[in-house]
């Protein structure tokens, strides 16, 4: 698998979340994703960006266009140096929220993506990677 394009965007304000969505939309179009898949990855990115901002205290998103054989994909990595998540299973559980949300963001992002990976170290930060393939 090779990375054919990579860029990093800050996630430090509400406006940055809007920019993340716009950029992810543009990259999804660039790799030829259809309207439904575009909407899925943009929505997943919106969830993860807002978590990075609200719970992670801000961080950034790395966006990569990846190629595996003939297939193209969009891989997004959200990273923060916030408090981390002590119990990942609990955080992934639908309707669990510590911040008055719906508690559907992480589970939703997983269901909206082809690949989902989360690592977190309490006191050090959180990294979530998703990918959507054409």
């Amino acid at each position: 698998m090779t990375v054919t394009k990579a860029e990093t965007l800050p996630v430090r304000s509400g406006d940055d979340v809007v920019r993340v969505r716009q950029r992810v939309r543009a990259l999804a179009i660039e790799i030829g994703l259809g309207l439904v898949d575009q909407t899925k990855i943009v929505t997943a990115a919106s969830e993860l960006a807002r978590n990075t901002l609200d719970y992670g205290g801000g961080g950034d998103m790395r966006a990569e266009i990846v190629q595996a054989g003939m297939r193209k994909g969009l891989r997004l990595t959200f990273e923060d140096q916030g408090p981390g998540i002590a119990d990942i299973d609990q955080a992934m559980t639908d309707h669990y929220t510590s911040g008055g949300g719906l508690g559907l963001g992480l589970g939703g992002a997983k269901r909206l993506s082809n690949e989902f990976h989360i690592e977190s170290t309490p006191g050090a930060g959180t990294r979530v990677t998703i990918a959507r393939w054409k």
């Binding site: 509400g14 809007v18 439904v36 909407t39 719906l102 559907l104 939703g108 269901r111």
Partner: protein
């Protein structure tokens, strides 16, 4: 001869003020500030003349410390100019150049007055560079702060403008949402809708989300809250304009709105009319006439 740069600079600016002004206005003219048509030459000249005069006085009163009391009125004048530049839509470069382009004619004048004394010339140039850089930065700080203010105000205006509540019929309201629904805007939307429900004694409010590009959990939560609040005010909500890709995404997210939803605003309106005991019929005569 003295090597005190402040003295050299002060003397030069005082003695050579007229020539510096001529050089400065020429530089401003060449820098393109005028070409944009945002400011007239006469106005630019007046500003330059006022700033230079205050600069001369400030040097006498405050030396090189552009943050000192002696510079207060000059800083104020520059701030005014920056603010008006921000509002007039000048670029940051144009604005910064206003002060920075004073350097060249000042250095020019220093060369004339201190040609014979290299160390005085060097000291004067250093002093001039230091104080004008500081003033230039001050200009930029004010400019950027003003730009942010302008942008912030525009953002607020858009937030208010783009959330109209439309009265479709007696007791039937429509709220067409357009654009990003982030927290600040949603608050406004909700207030507008609830107020309109009270004012119009509305029974049904149609929330149309055709113009909302992404429905994520935050948007969904805002919608749920709005629907719940409307219900408390005695109005039922119908959500319309959920496009197929949004519907699919919402299913994956696991979000349920638990309200009646319709594909289009027109469908929702038909339901609302029906629920309030009305019916739209085609006039019999017009169909016959067409035959």
């Amino acid at each position: 001869m003295t090597m005190d740069g402040t003295e050299v600079l002060k003397r030069t600016v005082t003695e050579d003020e007229a020539a510096i002004l001529v050089g400065w206005t020429a530089a401003l003219r060449d820098s393109g500030s005028l070409q944009s048509g945002r400011i007239r030459e006469a106005e630019l000249q007046t500003q330059a003349k006022a700033v230079l005069g205050q600069f001369r006085d400030a040097l006498a009163a405050g030396g090189l410390d552009a943050d000192s009391e002696g510079y207060a009125s000059l800083r104020e004048t520059l701030a005014d100019i920056s603010r008006s530049r921000a509002i007039q839509g000048f670029t940051p470069t144009d604005t910064a150049n206003f002060v920075f382009s004073l350097k060249e004619p000042v250095f020019e004048a220093l060369r004339r007055t201190s040609a014979a004394d290299a160390s005085a010339l060097a000291a004067g140039v250093w002093a001039g560079g230091k104080v004008l850089d500081r003033l230039g930065l001050h200009t930029m700080e004010v400019f950027l702060a003003s730009r942010e203010e302008v942008i912030g105000r525009q953002g607020q205006e858009i937030a208010e403008l783009s959330t109209p509540v439309v009265r479709l019929w007696d007791g039937i309201l429509a709220l067409p949402l357009i654009g990003t629904l982030d927290s600040a805007r949603t608050g406004v939307v909700m207030e507008n809708l609830l107020q309109a429900i009270v004012d119009e004694e509305a029974e049904i409010a149609i929330i149309d989300i055709t113009g909302v590009p992404t429905v994520d959990t935050l948007v969904a939560q805002h919608l749920l809250k709005t629907v719940a609040a409307a219900r408390l005010m005695g109005a039922d909500c119908i959500v319309s304009g959920i496009r197929p890709q949004i519907a699919q995404t919402m299913v994956h997210l696991g979000v349920e709105l638990n309200v009646v939803s319709k594909a289009t605003l027109a469908d929702a309106f038909a339901v609302a009319l029906k629920r309030t005991g009305r019916k739209v019929v085609r006039q019999q005569t017009s169909t016959e006439e067409r035959r």
